[in-house]
């Protein structure tokens, strides 16, 4: 067991290093940060001066090594070119917005996804089930940004019910800003959360539905049915319970991609989270911010993967024989 954990952790660290190298090296090619920092009215001497201040005149491996050393030795992710502040501070400031949005989206996706999934499985051929299934496909057949803009158009501009951008009023508790405690903060969450959660909701719904269908066909459910147990009891006590393990695994894995997909939602709704920060960083070629963001996203994914693996390992004794089984599903 211990050997397995150590091996997986070591593998994760290697993954992170590779990701970090890839991220850092590639963003060196995206554009020229100096150009953005200096604006139009600057001289050639200015360019050289800033370039050397940022360390951009050094060979690439040196730059990456400095970056890594900063992180490992004193938790320093560098200084944002754009804001002139430590990247760690900026990310810490922005993270609550993204995490709250991701959390609400995940809850929305989970609750609605499971309920609709169970319903469509039980009423497999009902017209409402078919309508839900088709509608859910419509949802995933349109790009997220378009859904977001359409929601804004309908609910903010035409109906005027919900805000079109930002987080509304936030309350600061320690280093954490929350939108959960004010009416305007909660209202501001609705549209972005739906936009972000829609895709995952469809995914969960379809997963629950197909798992339910399989379980409902299994012998023990047929047997329970034959014994005359009430169908409600069969559906929820036996069938649903058995579908939840894969659902929770997939949801765990999806949480990471919710955070990543927040880039688009945050751009559309001007949501002040890390996704918007990342897109801004790309525009301004703010390499330290971009690299840090990617590293953090990778840490998130790798951690989730690791937890899922370990869970599987402890739940499923068969895996103990074959410790190398791939993560995920």
């Amino acid at each position: 067991m211990l050997a397995f954990i150590i091996r997986r952790v070591a593998q994760s660290v290697v993954v992170l290093l590779v990701v970090g190298l890839v991220a850092f090296s590639l963003f060196r090619f995206v554009g020229d940060p100096v150009e953005n920092l200096l604006g139009q009215e600057r001289t050639i001497a200015d360019i050289e001066r800033v370039r050397s201040q940022l360390g951009l005149d050094q060979p690439f491996p040196v730059q990456y090594f400095k970056f890594l050393k900063g992180i490992v030795v004193d938790g320093n992710f560098g200084v944002s070119y754009r804001q002139g502040r430590p990247v760690a501070d900026i990310i810490a400031e922005r993270a609550p917005a993204t995490l709250e949005l991701a959390f609400v989206s995940a809850v929305f996706a989970l609750v609605l996804g499971i309920s609709l999934g169970v319903y469509t499985a039980i009423r497999r051929d009902g017209w409402l089930s078919n309508a839900v299934m088709t509608l859910s496909l419509v949802g995933v057949s349109l790009p997220t940004f378009l859904i977001g803009i359409l929601l804004i158009y309908v609910f903010a501009v035409e109906l005027g019910w919900l805000p079109s951008f930002g987080r509304g009023e936030t309350v600061k508790i320690g280093g954490w800003t929350t939108g959960f405690l004010t009416a305007s903060g909660l209202k501001a969450l609705i549209l972005p959360a739906i936009t972000l959660g829609l895709y995952q909701m469809t995914l969960i719904m379809r997963l629950v539905r197909s798992e339910m269908l399989e379980v409902l066909r299994s012998d023990y459910v047929k047997f329970a049915d034959a014994r005359g147990l009430p169908s409600r009891r069969i559906h929820f006590r036996h069938a649903l319970k058995n579908t939840l393990v894969p659902v929770i695994t997939i949801t765990g894995l999806q949480l990471g991609s919710i955070v990543a997909f927040a880039i688009i939602t945050e751009t559309v709704f001007q949501w002040p989270g890390v996704g918007l920060l990342f897109i801004n960083a790309i525009q301004f070629v703010d390499i330290p911010v971009m690299a840090t963001y990617l590293m953090l996203i990778s840490v998130l994914f790798v951690t989730i993967n690791l937890i899922v693996d370990l869970l599987y390992f402890s739940i499923d004794p068969r895996l103990k024989a074959d410790g190398s089984a791939g993560g995920g599903h």
């Binding site: 990701v19 060196r28 995206v30 057949s141 790009p143 688009i264 190398s324």
Partner: protein, 314 residues
Amino acid sequence: MAPRGEDIDQMEMIKRFVGSDLVYKFNRSPVAIIALAVTVLLIGGAVLAPLVTSQNPFDPASLNLMNGFSKPMEPNQFTGDTFIFGADDQGRDVYATILYGMRISLFVGFAAVLFAMVLGVSLGLLSGFIGGRTDIIIMRIADIQLTFPAILVALLIFGIAKGITPPSMRDEIAIWVLIIAIGLSDWVQFARVVRGATLVEKSKEYVQAARLIGRSSVVIMIRHILPNTLSPVLVIATISLALAIIAEATLSFLGVGAPPTQPSLGTLIRIGQGFLFSGEWWILFFPAITLLALALSVNLLGDWLRDALNPKLK
């Protein structure tokens, strides 16, 4: 779909078996029939675009800027030209632009899925068949790949492409970069499914038998194991096609998609969403509805295929 020992006609048999069953089910599913009809119609329109449109929107010299913002079915107030779906901000016929744009979207979609499929199936086969260290390495790479969502992969690849190509070539490579980016983020699914299927098949008697009579690993993989993984691969490919078309649209929204002079459906939607509030609804509406119809019918087909090919659901 039970595999048998001897081989030459096996694929043929399976095909016929699956085929006839599929055809039977297909004829009884109105949703599948409509979805296929819409898909064929849209793909046909895209392929035959030069024959069914009077304007080539990708040839800027043939455009008249004064046709810009012509309303659907109404003659333009300056030029008198009439466009069935109206004209966009550059005076392009929206109908023609959609058909030509769909060519790009479909090309990107098909090529990306093909790329993902070839890569994923080969790696999955290798991983499952050889096992051991190869398996670990490939599956670890799959994990890394999953760490990066498609959008990030695409942005990264754009980064590389921009760094290593001369500026004058960037327009031409944009589409290929899209294909690689979308394809790369999709192969893991194929690999995992094929690996799983391979692990199951590997231990079966017919494979053992084939090994005993001295068939090479490559032949066994391609002739014996691969056919058994075809149906899940087909399902994933169909759904990936829809995903790839949407992903292309999303990347275009982020500004790393097809160039504006050769717009894909996604680029058209990006351009059109700027006119949502201003009353020129047709610039957004028609491309969006086309994308919806395309992605929805492909999704429905994929859904139907999955149910139809799943023996447990019979």
